[in-house]
Structure formats: structure tokens, C-alpha cells
Subunit: 616 residues, 2 copies
């Protein structure tokens, strides 16, 4: 994870800053201040890309120091562009003043305010020493105050078509202690679900306005909107002690995880409305699995973990991070997937940014890259928690964890290596508990203390070591991670008869570039997995440190058309394709981590591999 | 088929006429003439719904007589609305005059002209005795002449974003003998594929403008656009003797049929762009399979059949008619599917017209219902062909077929009954050949002549009976149609491990309403087919004359989440779900023809049924 953070600082964040200049996002704001006169550029919510990049820059400033130039420049620009009443939105401040607040369904005005507020909170927390941080907080508070005046108890009953401001307002409340922000967030959560937004283009479920969240039984509509709403609702629930609301979010989360989540943790099965789709509708080829939805899921999982302490939320945090999120960024940190399919076919038409065959450096709707930048810049904050009782490690990565007078150093190559060494460097006084998460995928977790095996069973997902710690104490956790095959629930029609490969938290895939000569002549879509042969781990100096050797063969393609009849039931199992003359012999193919796909030529890929069917 | 035509005349066509009034399509044209002042209503190409309904009314007038009122009224309206130079398009004649011909990609101006021309051709052919027919032909010719002036050899090199006018111009040439119409059609086919339309919203492949049709190797982009282009190209090829062009269309057709066609004959796998998608991308749940694409495929198949005489084009004509097209219309003829999915899941969100759970009476883009009306009103024209050598029967339905002095009467309940009786009522002089198509699905076709078995093998899909016929000769064709299971090509990932059911040309489906008590408590998605039991035919007085009794059981759902690990390859086949305690016993379920689905409550349905997997 540290490597990803370093790459983010060195490549992704500067790339985003460059793109904001190149695509006119900053000039949009300069039009408001009279410092630019180019036409408005990009989507009507292009300001949010500025805010997310600003947030990333603030976290990065706190993480690694470095230049505060971007923060300082943008803070000044925002302060200058803001209207006296607090309004700030470059799309609606020059050409469309008469349309301010007139189209809450799609205008994204509160959504944009939310990202502004989150940037301000990040600046205040991570870079309080920089004067510009206070400047951004002041801008954000003026906008938040406007929202409270206009849409608070004395104002209009309204919600924004795209949730986001809810969680931002709670964060601003946490920063400032100003209760009206929390009340406004709660109000927005409670006012949603009564059809105030109208049907829009996709119906009221699209923006979760058909049913109040407390009554909602399944996740629905636009996946990013749903996740952002859930995250905000947890924040409201926690700060107001609203256990019913928290229970509602947990219920919806469960519905997402048990019916509408890809193996990668990605969510959103439809391109048409970027939406969840029906239960068990999880096509790997047409997976939308928007990067921002994965980030939203990460944010919700984190909040639910903090609110409940349940390890399965941390499991999801890890899964979506190493797969659904990580896959979005190229190894060079400068190209990104917006959608994250689990399969790419031979001859795929990648000519449109809706379904590119490779990562693109930017998008006409560029929500995802700066969203990645802000997550990566703050990633260290999600590894562990601390309280009076001890330290809890949730994500494993090399680094130093400090809190409540306790400091531990973690040394590991996880997830490539199953060993995690934890050295106490400051122990604090008295007994406390070091809690180590045992991921749900792990069936064999072992721990030693100063070289001696410790017999302790995981409780609710955590190995808990309680003692009076000494500086120098060494804990080693070994999370056995043999390669494994994964099967999907039989209701997931789209991957029936197929298996996926995984090791530890990492989902693997087969990419065309790795086919050996024996299979290179076969159509990628004719490959099938020979489950009679074992999987093997192979370490590598190449793209992936560890690959899984997968036994594949190419079936002989039936000569006829798309469909063939089987007139006589009982004469063999219809559809069975036993190995026949023409099938290739089984060869071993190196499967790579899914998150590393598409870093070579644009070539076919798949996570779910058809099983060779037994002879009929 | 005669029943469908009667329903069309009694229900669908009057329904369309009513909807045109209710939705403002006629008032749009009256705005142009100054006879209405309501705002423009509906899509910018709403005139085409008028034209298609007009075409349907004309065919119906020729088929069954009846009132010429709609034809007469609309002809007068069109004549009055047409500009002096021939231009006619109510969207661009009042509010948007300055934008005429400025956005050929999406304006649909030539597309609309095409439907106007087709209505005129239908009127001239089917109702030449009605004065209004000549009026419509004159209007259409004036518009066609404008197209030739503006976009012909002396004019601009341009094509329309939506093909349609190509086939219409060839038909107008056939009607009038005016060569410039044919030349213009050819010009439009030849100018396409060089990027003149620009990328648009979905890239140049969307409107088949990335590669000239002669070089195109696979169908691509918007399915309706592709099929309409293919139909027009066949027309051009046939009339100009262009065998290269014909070969290109046959090649593209083959690509569609072997990689991008549903079992129902439906085409279009994506909702986002109503497009074909990649090869083998054929999800049953998210099948777009637009009704208009199926109609387009029908039109192309017919033209290819005429151009080549190859029976497999007639096979496709029959398949798409009985499945992809027939499914779109409710039994009452007044509600329609725009998209035709092959699966509907429990809990499906049918709240939006993009994916309704039942047929709707109209759509905001209402292209499909009047398209159905015009096809159904002219359906009798597709049953048979005749030439100097004899008669060729392609589609079997009760009725009278006359041509070249020969008349046969066909008596049959096909496709419910496998017997087709053909009685010669006028034989003509000398020997000639009666050719009877043997569908590709049929493995046992028998024929008798005046009660005596005739030993003749089908040649290239047709049984040919050559003799000097006598009035009163009786031929009986028996096309054995046992129920059968159908498997998909293993590259079709979305239905792996599943089979479909069919009988004769009709694809069947299981609908929730037909589950017996033993299965009523199971989740529909847990049903699987027990392939060890036979299929049985059951005749019925209900919705479907013939149902297929299918042995189904409900698997016990795995208790855990969406994905489960299988750590040890070799320990049983991963993903195998053998019958376990908790599975229900096998029960027989009456599968109904797919085209009759969704005529009861909005309930789950599926064509592809998972096979019970053998114990691992």
C-alpha cells in the first residue's frame, strides 16, 4: 500500500493537477473571477474534480510534506470565486445564474458543495499549518451555512440527486462542532425517498428517492449514489446515536454483498444507468463496476467497521481495495479505468470510452482519477484503529502505526508474502490488546510471540493478544494463502460452470499475453480449466510478483452455429463438451493479479474461467 | 399468421392510430400547416410513427379492404405540410428551420423521408384505387427528388446517421422506374464508412460509419441501423447486379448469425447504445433484442432469400417471426415490448420503460408498435414466392397462395400441428415444381401426394415436387416437431450450463405462473432442469395450445454468500451443486411459447434453464 501511495504522490496526483489545467477545470473557476474568458469546459460538475484533487493534495501534504502550491493557489481562487452569500459553482455562476438550485436532480450543486467541504476537512486535518487550509475551511463553511439557510429547517425541503454532501456535512460538524451541519446531514438523509426529485431520466430508484432509506430493503439505482448515501447515513447514525438508521445501512450493505457485488468488490452491473441492476445480475463482460462505486463501497465499509467493529467490513475493505479499486490504475499511475470489467473478449470494440480495452489518461466525465488520488493519499488512515483497550490492525502493509502512546512497526510483503512481522517499538504502560484481523478467506492463521507459538483462536475475525507489552516484543502472523478456486452462487447465471482464481485477498485473471506457445493459436474464448490438475504458485520478476500456474486447455470449437439441438434427452448431457480430438493438451498458464491486467497490449482477459465439463 | 394479421387489423393498427392522436404526432404536422398550435410533442423523429402507421394502413387496405379514412386524411395533411421544395419534417419546419440538414448524424431527416417513401410505395401497391395513394406517392417523390438534388452527384456527399432511406429509394425506383432514386440509394451505401458522420455519442461504429460495408467483416453498432443498412444494401446489390456488395451483406449476415444473435432471433446485446456488442456477448437478462431490430433482421433475411434462394434465410425469417418479433405484442394486440429479454428475475425492477416487466401500451420512443403494425399488415407477402418454374412455400400458414396461374390452398395449424395440407385448386398447364421448405430444425420431413408417400429428399432446404399438377391434387407435408433441448455454443458465456426448450420454430420458456404447488415455494432462480427425465408435449386450452412438460427441481440454495472457495482442486468439481437434502423432488412444469410470456401477472421468466449438475 505504501508503494501505491508513493506512486500516487509521484504520478497520479501531479497528473490530475496537470489535467485540471489542460481540460479547463481551473479556467472555469477563473471565468467567475474574471481571470479567464474561455468558454466553460467539461461537465457541469467539473468543479468537483478540482475539489477532489485539492483533497488529495491536502492529504498528501500531511502524509509526505512537499509543496503546498496547489492548495494555496486553489484556496485563493475559490475564495475569490465564491459569491458573497457563500454560493460557489462555476457552471452556474457565469452562464446559468438563473438556473441555480432549479434542477436539484441533476445539477450536482450540493454534491459539489460536499466535495468542497471534504477538501476543506482534509486540509484542516492534514495541513493545519498551511494558511490556505483555513482559507478553504472558511469557503466551505460559508457554502455549508448557505445550504443550512436555504435547505435547513427554515428553508426548502429538498435533496440533491447525487448524495455526497451528507457525509461531508458530518465531517464538517466533527471538525467544527457546529451542530447545524449534522442536523442538515440528517435532514437530507431523512427527506430522501419520497419522490421529491421526480422520475428523472431513469426513474426515482436511480437516485434512491423512491423509498426512505429506513424502509429500503435492497440497494438500488446508481451505484455511486447508493454508496455515498450509505456512507453519509452511517455518519449521521453514529453522531446522532440512531441505531435504527445504522441497522438500515447494515441491512442494505448485506443486500449489496449477497446479491449485487462482483468478486472484485466492484458494484454496478449496468452501463445504461451505472446502476446495480437486479439481484444476481452480475455479468463479468458488461460489469460496470465503476471505480467511484468501489471507492464509495470502501468508504461505507470503513464507516461500518468503525461503527460496529465487525471484521467482515474490514474483509470487504481489503477485497475492494486490492481488486475493484486497484485495477483502475495503470502501473505508471497515469491512466485509469472508469469501468472495471471482469472479462474482455477477443475482438472487443474498445473504441469508446464507455468500454475501453485499456486505461485512458482522462475521461469526459473525469470523476474517477481524482477520486483515486484522494483515496490513495489518505490510505494509511485506514490500516489500523486504536482505543483505550489497544490497537486493531485491519489492513496489513509495511509501516509504522502509532496511537495512544503505542507504536508498532509492521514489516511485510503482504499480500505477496503470507508473513507479517509486528515489532513493538513503544509499548505504553499496562496491559492492552493487539488485535490482528484474520481475513475471511484465510483458513489457517498462526501467530508467534517472540518466536513462540501462541495458541489463540480468532474471535469474530480478530486474533486478540492481550498482555503488558514490552518494547522489542515481536509478533509474527502467518496468514496461509494457498491459491484457491472460487465458485459463484448458482443464482449468478453469468458465470455458471466457471471458476475464478484467488490468493489471499487478490483475485487473479488470465490474460492473453501469458498464453504459452501451446495455446497461443487458440481462440481465447475456447480456453477452459482442467480441474483435475493442481494450481501452482510461481514467483516472478515480471509484472506480478506472484502468479498462479493454471492448467488450461483449448476446447475444440463445435463446427456449427450458435445453437445446436439435442433431440433425445437421456442421450448424454446436453451442452457437455468433453475433451475431443482437436482439444489441445493441458498447459500451464500464469494467471496474474486482476489489478495488473491491461498493462501490456490491449488483449483478451478473464477472471471467470469455464470448467472443462466432464464427458457426458 | 392469419390470426396475427386479424389481430393487427382489429387491435394494433387502430391502437396506433389512436396513439398518434393522443401523443401529438398528427398535431406536430398540423403545426406546420397552421392547423394546430400545441408545442411540438415527442421525439424529433415523431413523424416516422405517422409514416409507419400510414404504411400499415395501406397494406391493410389492400389485404382486407375497409376504410381508407386514415390514409386519405394523412395524405392531405402531408401534402399541405410539405414545403414547396419537397422538404417535410414537422420538427424542423416550425421551431428549428435553421437546423435543417445540419445534424445528419442524429436528425433522422433522411430516415424519416425513407419511412414516408415506404408508406407511399405501400399505398401505391396495396391501394392503387384510392386517390390518396397517388397523393402520398407525389409527396414522397417530391421529397425523394429533393434528396437527389441536395445529396446526389450534383450535391453534398453525406449520409444519414440512421439508414432506412436506402431501401426506400430502391423501392421507389421499382415503383417508378426513375433511375436517380436507385443511384441515390447506391450512393448512400457507398459513401458510408468514411467517418463523415463524426464520432457522435457512441463512436463511428454506432452508425456503421467506421468502415465501408464492402470491407466490414462483422456487424457492429446499433442493431437497427445495421439491419436497415443491410436490407438497403441487398436492394441496391440486386438492382445493380453488384455481386460484391451482395457477398458483403451475406458475410455480415453470417457474422451476425454465428456470433451475435439470440436463440429468439433477437439482436442487440446492449442497452447503452442499443448495439450488437462483442462476439458471443449474449446475456439473456440484459438482452436488448429490440423489436425493430428483429423486424430489420426479418426484412434483410427476406431480401437475402429472394436474392440467393438459400433456405437458411427463410429459416431465420421463421425463427425471428415466431420468437423475437411475436414476443413483442400482447395477446390483445395493444401492448408491446420494445426490448425483448430472454430472462426476467425475481424482484426485477420493471419501473422504467427501458426494462419493463410487462408490455407497455406506448413508449416515449414509439418506433416499435407501428413498425409491428406495418409488418403484420404485409405478412402474407412473405409466405411464398412464385416464378416460371413453380411455387416456393417458405412460411407455413393457412391460406390461399396464387401466382402465375397457379393457386394452392394451405390448411394447417402450424406451428402447433406438424401437418400441412396443400390442395391444388388451380394447377396451370404443363409441369412445374412445388417447393416446400424443410426448416433447419426439422430432422424428419415426410410428404405424401394424394395419400401416397413420396420418396424425395430435401435439396438445399426444399422438398421439390415436380409434375404436371391437376386441380384437386393434395400434398401433405409432415414436419416432425418433437420437443427438443437446445444448447448454446460454449463461447456464449452467459448461458453456459443451461439449455433451452423448443418445438418446431417456437422457442419455449418457463414462466413463474406455471409452477406447480411442489415448486411454488422455491425461488425461481433456484430451478434447474433434471435432464434424466424426458420432455413431454401437452395440448392445452389455455394461453398456449401446446406446452412442453419440463422436469424441474429446485436446488437447495447454498447458505453462504455470493462466492465460496474451493481450496483443494481434485476434491470434487468446484461449483458442482449435486442434489442434496433440501432440493425438491422433480416436478413437471408446463413451459409456454416464449412469445406468449408476460400475458399474465408480471412474473419471473426464463428461456435458458440451468442443468442440474451431476454430483461432483
Amino acid at each position: 500500500l505504501g508503494g501505491w501511495q508513493a506512486r500516487n504522490a509521484a504520478a497520479t496526483l501531479p497528473h490530475c493537477v496537470d489535467q485540471l489545467a489542460a481540460y479547463g477545470n481551473l479556467d472555469n473557476l477563473r471565468r467567475v473571477t474574471g481571470d479567464a474568458d474561455a468558454p466553460y469546459a467539461g461537465m457541469w460538475f467539473a468543479d468537483t474534480d478540482v475539489y477532489k484533487t485539492l483533497e488529495a493534495a491536502a492529504w498528501e501534504l500531511g502524509r509526505s510534506g512537499g509543496s503546498a502550491e496547489f492548495l494555496t493557489d486553489v484556496a485563493a481562487l475559490l475564495e475569490k470565486a465564491q459569491d458573497p452569500d457563500g454560493y460557489l459553482n462555476s457552471y452556474y455562476q457565469v452562464d446559468h445564474r438563473d438556473r441555480q438550485w432549479t434542477d436539484l436532480g441533476f445539477s450536482h450543486e450540493m454534491y459539489a458543495a460536499g466535495h468542497l467541504i471534504q477538501a476543506a476537512v482534509a486540509a484542516a486535518r492534514a495541513a493545519p499549518q498551511v494558511l490556505a487550509s483555513q482559507q478553504v475551511v472558511a469557503v466551505a463553511r460559508r457554502f455549508a451555512d448557505l445550504l443550512v439557510r436555504r435547505f435547513g429547517p427554515e428553508g426548502t425541503e429538498a435533496v440533491d440527486g447525487h448524495p455526497e454532501v451528507e457525509t461531508a456535512l458530518v465531517e464538517l460538524y466533527r471538525l467544527t462542532g457546529h451542530r447545524p451541519y449534522l442536523d442538515q446531514a440528517r435532514r437530507l438523509v431523512d427527506l430522501r425517498g419520497y419522490g421529491r426529485l421526480g422520475p428523472g431520466r431513469f426513474g426515482p430508484r436511480y437516485w434512491q428517492d423512491d423509498t426512505p432509506i429506513r424502509d429500503q430493503t435492497e440497494v438500488t439505482g446508481h451505484a455511486v449514489r447508493q454508496q455515498y448515501l450509505l456512507a453519509g447515513a452511517v455518519d449521521v447514525a453514529v453522531e446522532t446515536g440512531d441505531n435504527d438508521l445504522l441497522a438500515a445501512v447494515e441491512r442494505l450493505w448485506r443486500s449489496a454483498l449477497t446479491t449485487r457485488t462482483y468478486l472484485t468488490g466492484g458494484q454496478g452491473s449496468r452501463h445504461k444507468d451505472e446502476g446495480f441492476g437486479d439481484a444476481y445480475e452480475l455479468p463479468p463482460d458488461r460489469a460496470y463496476a465503476e471505480t467511484c462505486a468501489a471507492i464509495g463501497s470502501f468508504h461505507t465499509a470503513w464507516r461500518l467497521l468503525l461503527a460496529t467493529g465487525k471484521a467482515h467490513y474490514a474483509d470487504e475493505l481489503e477485497r475492494v481495495l486490492y481488486n475493484g479499486i486497484a485495477a483502475s490504475t495503470a502501473v505508471d499511475g497515469r491512466a485509469f479505468f472508469y469501468t472495471n470489467p471482469l472479462q474482455l473478449r477477443t475482438g472487443h470494440d474498445g473504441s469508446h470510452e464507455d468500454t475501453p480495452s485499456q486505461r485512458l489518461s482522462w475521461y469526459s466525465c473525469a470523476c474517477c482519477p481524482p477520486n483515486l488520488a484522494r483515496l490513495m493519499a489518505s490510505l494509511h488512515a485506514y490500516a489500523a484503529t486504536g482505543d483505550a483497550g489497544g490497537l486493531q490492525l485491519h489492513l496489513y502493509a509495511a509501516g509504522r502505526i502509532a496511537g495512544h502512546g503505542r507504536v508498532v512497526e509492521v514489516r511485510t510483503d503482504y499480500p505477496w508474502n503470507e508473513r507479517i512481522a509486528i515489532v513493538l517499538t513503544e509499548a505504553a504502560d499496562g496491559p492492552w490488546t493487539l488485535a490482528l484481523r484474520v481475513p475471511g478467506w484465510c483458513r489457517d492463521a498462526r501467530v508467534t510471540l517472540n518466536g513462540w507459538p501462541v495458541r489463540v483462536a480468532a474471535e469474530e475475525g480478530y486474533l486478540r493478544l492481550s498482555r503488558t507489552w514490552q518494547a522489542g516484543d515481536q509478533v509474527e502472523l502467518v496468514l496461509a494463502m494457498p491459491p484457491r478456486m472460487v465458485a459463484a452462487h448458482p443464482r449468478v447465471d453469468a458465470v455458471r460452470g466457471s471458476v475464478a482464481l484467488a490468493r489471499g485477498p487478490v483475485v487473479y485473471c488470465v490474460e492473453h499475453a501469458d498464453l504459452p506457445a501451446a495455446l497461443a493459436g487458440a481462440l481465447f474464448e475456447d480456453l477452459e480449466l482442467d480441474a483435475t490438475e493442481p494450481l501452482r504458485l510461481v514467483t516472478s520478476d515480471g509484472l506480478a510478483p506472484v502468479t498462479i500456474g493454471v492448467p488450461l486447455r483449448a476446447r475444440a470449437a463445435p463446427p456449427d452455429g450458435l445453437y445446436s439441438s439435442c433431440h433425445q434427452p437421456g442421450q448424454g448431457r446436453p451442452g457437455a463438451q468433453p475433451a475431443r480430438p482437436g482439444s489441445t493438451p493441458t498447459a500451464t498458464v500464469a494467471a496474474i493479479p486482476y489489478f495488473l491486467w491491461a498493462n501490456r497490449a490491449a488483449e483478451p482477459m478473464r477472471i471467470w474461467i469455464p470448467l472443462a465439463t466432464p464427458a457426458g
